[in-house]
Each structure stands twice: as structure tokens, then as C-alpha cells.
């Protein structure tokens, strides 16, 4: 259960949003919508605990995330604008190392299987620098399959993805929600999700 109360976000002198509250139960997805610069990414970074809110508090299962620290981060998967994909490493090295850095042990077979499922068959051992933007994004999204986390926070996950990949990602999110997971995501495109979803508008 993710709960935010009375959040305020200040960037420079300007307050982007204030008095923002929401509750997100198990198996639910929160779609954050709003114009460019309305504070979507800032909100997502607050939910991750990367930047503290100017006011208000975010709680996970009743406890403030600031106090939970690593316990909360162990439940969280954040996929931001930057995909954390290293150009010098191959797709499979990227997938394995991201999982290790996050604290999950992943063997080569599991990493290859996840990449193949995301349509990167035959490209597992290519350095990421020769992959297209969409393929790099798929490498970054392989973490969704490799790290078992309850809360997914996805910032514009559809960027650069083709139609098939979008459908596949929707399937992944639906499966995650069906297992009782939570998801918070921003997108300028429509995401045809089958599971329960709520919309939060930042304007």
C-alpha cells in the first residue's frame, strides 16, 4: 500500500504542485498525467525517495519511506528517462549487472531468457552501443522481468518502443498487477491496461 499525503513540489522559486494526496492499493496502477513541466518526473522521483518533498509525506504500508530506506528500496523498481544502459557492455552484461547492483542475483541464462522474451533474440551479446534506442529501452525494461519487486515506478516507459513492444509491456504490467503488484507510471500515449488503474492529473 502506497500512500501520499499533502505533497508539495518546489522547483526553484516555483511550486509545481501542492496538497497532492493519493492512496494506491495492491493490484492497482496509478497513471500520472499532465503537461510537460507539470512535475510528473518530480513526483515519481519523490515516490522513489530520490528527492524529498518540500512538504508532506509518502508512506509504504504505513511507515514513512524515509525511515524504511533499504527495506523500501528492496520493494521498488524505478525506470527513469535514463535507462542506465552502458554502451560498452553487451545486452546480457547490462541486464545482469543492473540486477546485481539492485541486489538481485541473476545468472546468465535467466538474463538471456528475459532479453529474448523482450524481442532481443540474437542480440544478447552485442554491445549496447550498436543497439537502436528502442532496443536499448528493451534492455532497460528487462529489469522488470529479472528483479522481483512489488512497486514499479516507470517514467515514460513507452519512449522509443514499437507497437509490439508497447503491447508486450502492457501485458507485463497487467501480469504484475494481477499478482498484487503496484505500478505508478507516466505516459503521453494511451496504455491499454486490463487491470485496475487510477488517473492522477497534475495541472
Amino acid at each position: 500500500m502506497l500512500e501520499a499525503s499533502n505533497l508539495e513540489c518546489v522547483r526553484g522559486e516555483k511550486s509545481l504542485f501542492s496538497g497532492l494526496s493519493f492512496k494506491l492499493g495492491e493490484g492497482t496502477c496509478l497513471m500520472v498525467q499532465g503537461a510537460n513541466g507539470s512535475g510528473k518526473t518530480s513526483l515519481l522521483r519523490m515516490i522513489c525517495g530520490l528527492s524529498p518533498p518540500a512538504q508532506g509525506e509518502i508512506r509504504w504500508n504505513g511507515a514513512p519511506i524515509r525511515e524504511l530506506a533499504e527495506d523500501y528500496r528492496g520493494e521498488l523498481l524505478y525506470c527513469g528517462h535514463a535507462g542506465a544502459v552502458k554502451e560498452e557492455l553487451t545486452a546480457v552484461e547490462n541486464a545482469r549487472l543492473s540486477a546485481t547492483l539492485a541486489g538481485a542475483a541473476v545468472d546468465e541464462q535467466a538474463a538471456c531468457a528475459a532479453l529474448r522474451r523482450l524481442g532481443l533474440k540474437g542480440r544478447e551479446d552485442l554491445p549496447a552501443r550498436v543497439l537502436s534506442a528502442g532496443q536499448k529501452r528493451r534492455v532497460a525494461l528487462s529489469r522488470l522481468l529479472l528483479e522481483k519487486r512489488r512497486l514499479w515506478v516507470l517514467d515514460e516507459p513507452l519512449t522509443a518502443l514499437d507497437r509490439d513492444a508497447v503491447a508486450q509491456l502492457c501485458g507485463l504490467i497487467d501480469a504484475h498487477l494481477a499478482e498484487g503488484g503496484l505500478a505508478v507510471l507516466t505516459s503521453h500515449q494511451d496504455l491499454p491496461l486490463a487491470g485496475r488503474s487510477e488517473t492522477l492529473r497534475l495541472d
Binding site: 522513489c48 525517495g49 530520490l50 528527492s51 524529498p52 533499504e70 528500496r73 528492496g74 521498488l76 524505478y78 527513469g80 528517462h81 535514463a82 535507462g83 542506465a84 544502459v85 552502458k86 554502451e87 560498452e88 557492455l89 552484461e93 549487472l97 543492473s98 546485481t100 547492483l101 539492485a102 541486489g103 538481485a104 542475483a105 541473476v106 535467466a110 554491445p127 529479472l146 522481483k148
Partner: protein, 227 residues
């Protein structure tokens, strides 16, 4: 799929940074060439005055090691910051301090350790006797990890700041002064027959102190930089 131990993650971070460095060799080699060239310029500039060269050798080698380390510092976190890996590290279930400590060790393996191993070869140009070369290497082995540790704090504090490279020099070089004094002093006191024990012990004490505080301080600095 399961959880991994802290030590395994620590080792994985070191391996990862070494692997990245092997795939992008120019970064590491620039630092080493810089060290070799700066040190080699002194005998060429001063000429074959053995007495003078022997006297300035420890200082020259240490100052060059300081500057070479400075050169590699801005790169310590910059690439990981730019491609989002640092955010992921900050959100890891593993404490960020463990990951940062791994990165610092990898930085030392790629800058400090090669400098210490190159030093005796370069010391020959200054006509340093074999036992003085030995002390020099020992002092560098104890002192260069301190440079990486203190440098990491500076690199963390200046991350994402425009002109961070210059700022990190202003911030970190003054903090390197004790290492410079006792590092170069070790060779000098050995040369005059006092023995290098006291100086080396002090360097080891600096190392113990910074190894304890620097990863923690770097973690705090990185979290602020990521906000």
C-alpha cells in the same frame, strides 16, 4: 534468482568498473601517460645533476601522482550519473555506501596501483637507490588509496556542477597536503637514515581514517547531487 550478499555486490561493482575500463582503455591510459610524462620532464629540464635529482625525486613523483589522480577524479561518477546508473545505485536494496566503496576500490586499482607500480621505473631517472625506490613504492601503496578515498568525496560534491573539474581540484588538493608531506617525507627520512617507519605508519593511519569516513561522506554527497 535470489538475494546476493553485500560482499558479492561489492566485488561485482569492482569487476564491473574494471570491465568498463578495459572496454574504454583511453581513460585509464591518459592518467598513466600524464604521470609518466610529467615525472620524465623534470630530469630533462634540470639536467644531469644527480644530487639535486635525488633530492627532488620523492616530491616530484608524489606531486605528479596527486595531479594524475586529480585528472581521473571527475570521471569517477560522471558516466554513471549521465546514464542513470547512479540513480539506480541510490535506489538499490544494497546500501549505497557498499556500492560507492566498490567504485573507490576500482578507482584505486585503475589509478593508484598502476602509479605505485610505475614509480620505481620512473625513479631510476632520478638516480634513486634501490632501497629508496622500495620505500617510495610502499609510501605510494599506502598513500594513493587515501587520494582515491578523499577524491571520491570531492567528486561526489562537485557532481553535476558546471566546471566541476576545476572545482574538485580546489576542493581536494588542499586535503591531499598531509599525504604529500608524509609520502615524500618517508623517502627523505629514509635517505638521511632516520627510517621511514614513522611516516609510513602515519600514512596507514590516514588510510584507516579515510577508509572509514570517505565512503559514508561520498554517499551523502551523491544523495544530495541526485536530488
Amino acid at each position: 534468482m535470489g538475494e546476493v550478499g553485500l560482499l558479492a555486490v561489492f566485488a561485482a561493482v569492482i569487476r564491473r568498473d574494471l570491465l568498463l575500463a578495459m572496454r574504454r582503455k583511453s581513460d585509464v591510459l591518459t592518467t598513466l601517460f600524464f604521470f609518466v610524462i610529467v615525472v620524465s620532464l623534470f630530469p630533462l629540464g634540470i639536467g644531469p645533476e644527480m644530487g639535486l635529482l635525488r633530492k627532488i625525486a620523492p616530491g616530484v613523483l608524489w606531486v605528479a601522482a596527486l595531479l594524475a589522480t586529480m585528472l581521473s577524479l571527475p570521471r569517477l561518477f560522471a558516466a554513471d550519473h549521465a546514464d542513470g546508473t547512479l540513480e539506480q545505485m541510490a535506489l538499490s536494496a544494497v546500501p549505497l555506501g557498499v556500492l560507492v566503496a566498490g567504485k573507490i576500490v576500482a578507482h584505486w586499482l585503475l589509478s593508484g596501483l598502476p602509479l605505485a607500480l610505475l614509480a620505481p621505473v620512473l625513479g631510476l631517472q632520478f638516480d634513486l637507490p634501490a632501497d629508496a625506490l622500495g620505500v617510495l613504492v610502499l609510501a605510494l601503496l599506502a598513500g594513493t588509496p587515501v587520494l582515491s578515498l578523499v577524491g571520491a568525496v570531492g567528486a561526489g560534491l562537485t557532481l553535476g556542477v558546471r566546471g566541476g573539474g576545476v572545482l574538485v581540484s580546489l576542493l581536494v588538493l588542499p586535503l591531499y597536503v598531509p599525504v604529500l608531506i608524509f609520502g615524500a617525507g618517508a623517502v627523505e627520512s629514509h635517505a638521511v637514515g632516520l627510517g621511514a617507519g614513522a611516516h609510513l605508519s602515519l600514512l596507514a593511519a590516514f588510510l584507516a581514517l579515510t577508509a572509514f569516513f570517505a565512503p559514508w561522506a561520498t554517499t551523502v554527497a551523491l544523495r544530495i547531487a541526485l536530488e
